[in-house]
Symmetry: C2
Subunit: 209 residues, 2 copies
DNA sequence: TAAGTTTTGTGATAAATGTTACTTATACAG
DNA sequence: CTGTATAAGTAACATTTATCACAAAACTTA
């Protein structure tokens, strides 16, 4: 089942030899919504490829406050902790399942071998870095050039795309944590959006109009 | 002369075959302080390797306001616009010479060939991505978790390291542009640092104590 | 040497965000 | 069905940052 998903999602990225090898070596893992997949400072022994679901990548400050950097989606380039590509031992980010997700975990040792021996893996790694790099640039832009209301609205639009639904189930507190701000600020801005007919609010639920 | 620098800076990173080839194909360019090396939306046809000097990498918002993302230094991994590694046609960042710098420009076509044929180049590219990725994470942390005074102080410390001098020649307006804030805010914070005996101020000059 | 220009510092005010407290509404558990 | 817990909205106030205006000091140019 998982191997089937692997083929389905990656057959246009990896050559068949590599897919077979990944299928043999990799371990399928499933995570429920809100499960921590990788934690900060956790030793990295696997490269996870996302088969289904989606994942949010977070940074943490010295006081334990978090910030969402970007979301990962299935089927797309989904190297999560890019430090693992280099065999660096500990994660600098936290990966949390945004919804129920399944991944195939590949032992890190193979990464280097494939990197030298397999052209499709090399291209995949390079493309993953590039995609992540672009998303980091976007995260920097959001923080440096946007006010909180703009960041919030963009966040809501991203959630809608991710869940392919105009209604997102989320608490104001959760949004505040992702955006590294206070719950009151988020409640105020959301109310303002409602007054501007951009969204409709209910408890635990936001509908983007 | 430039070829000598190339050997000196990169002989422990690249194998000899690659260094020779870079020396043959590459064009040495020199830039003066404040020269624009790569501009935003500029078509990318070369991969620049930094031989000497240092460079600052900037983002720009829709109104033309800039933000410093990170500095590049010579001899270290110095892939500047990582998009060029993928043959992406236009730059998303602006690269400006922080001090007089020299670079060797490699036509982009070779990048892909070497990437598949040369292990030392592959390792170099991978390591460059990783280094830049770490610096982007740091830029995100600075923006999300730090107040302007902390960012400013860190900026000053970085400048000191870059120029290997406790005295940096810079205008308040330039700092304000790098940190994407207003000149008045920077002048006030610097004055406060002086009052706290962290720095000593003169016109066009700051000495870190 | 004087005039002009540039840089810096300060004051006043505004806007954005953060924090604390509290009330109200809604969902959940027994 | 009721009590409790949780989530959301609002008020008041504080802090940080941004903007505008202007004066003073220092540097440059003629």
């Amino acid at each position: 089942m998982g191997k089937k998903l692997l083929y389905q999602k990656f057959n246009h990225i990896f050559d068949e030899v590599l897919i077979d090898e990944i299928g043999k070596i990799g371990t399928i893992s499933t995570f429920s919504k809100d499960d921590i997949i990788i934690d900060i400072n956790q030793p990295l022994q696997y490269i996870p490829l996302l088969l289904s679901g989606n994942i949010k990548i977070l940074r943490e400050d010295n006081d334990g406050n978090e910030l969402l950097i970007y979301f990962l989606e299935a089927g797309e380039t989904c190297t999560m902790s890019l430090t693992c590509c280099m065999g660096t031992s500990r994660s600098k980010i936290r990966a949390v399942a945004e919804k129920d997700s399944s991944l195939i975990m590949i032992p890190v040792q193979n990464m280097q071998t494939w990197f030298h021996n397999n052209e499709s893996w090399r291209n995949f790694i390079l493309e993953s870095y590039q995609t992540r790099f672009d998303e980091m640039l976007e995260a920097i832009d959001n923080l440096a050039f946007m006010k909180m209301d703009e960041r919030l609205y963009k966040y809501l639009i991203n959630k809608v795309k991710l869940h392919t639904s105009n209604i997102i189930i989320v608490k104001h507190q959760d949004i505040a944590e992702d955006l590294h701000t206070s719950r009151v600020v988020i409640s105020r801005l959301l109310k303002q959006f409602e007054n501007e007919n951009k969204i409709k609010l209910s408890r635990n639920k936001i509908e983007i109009l």
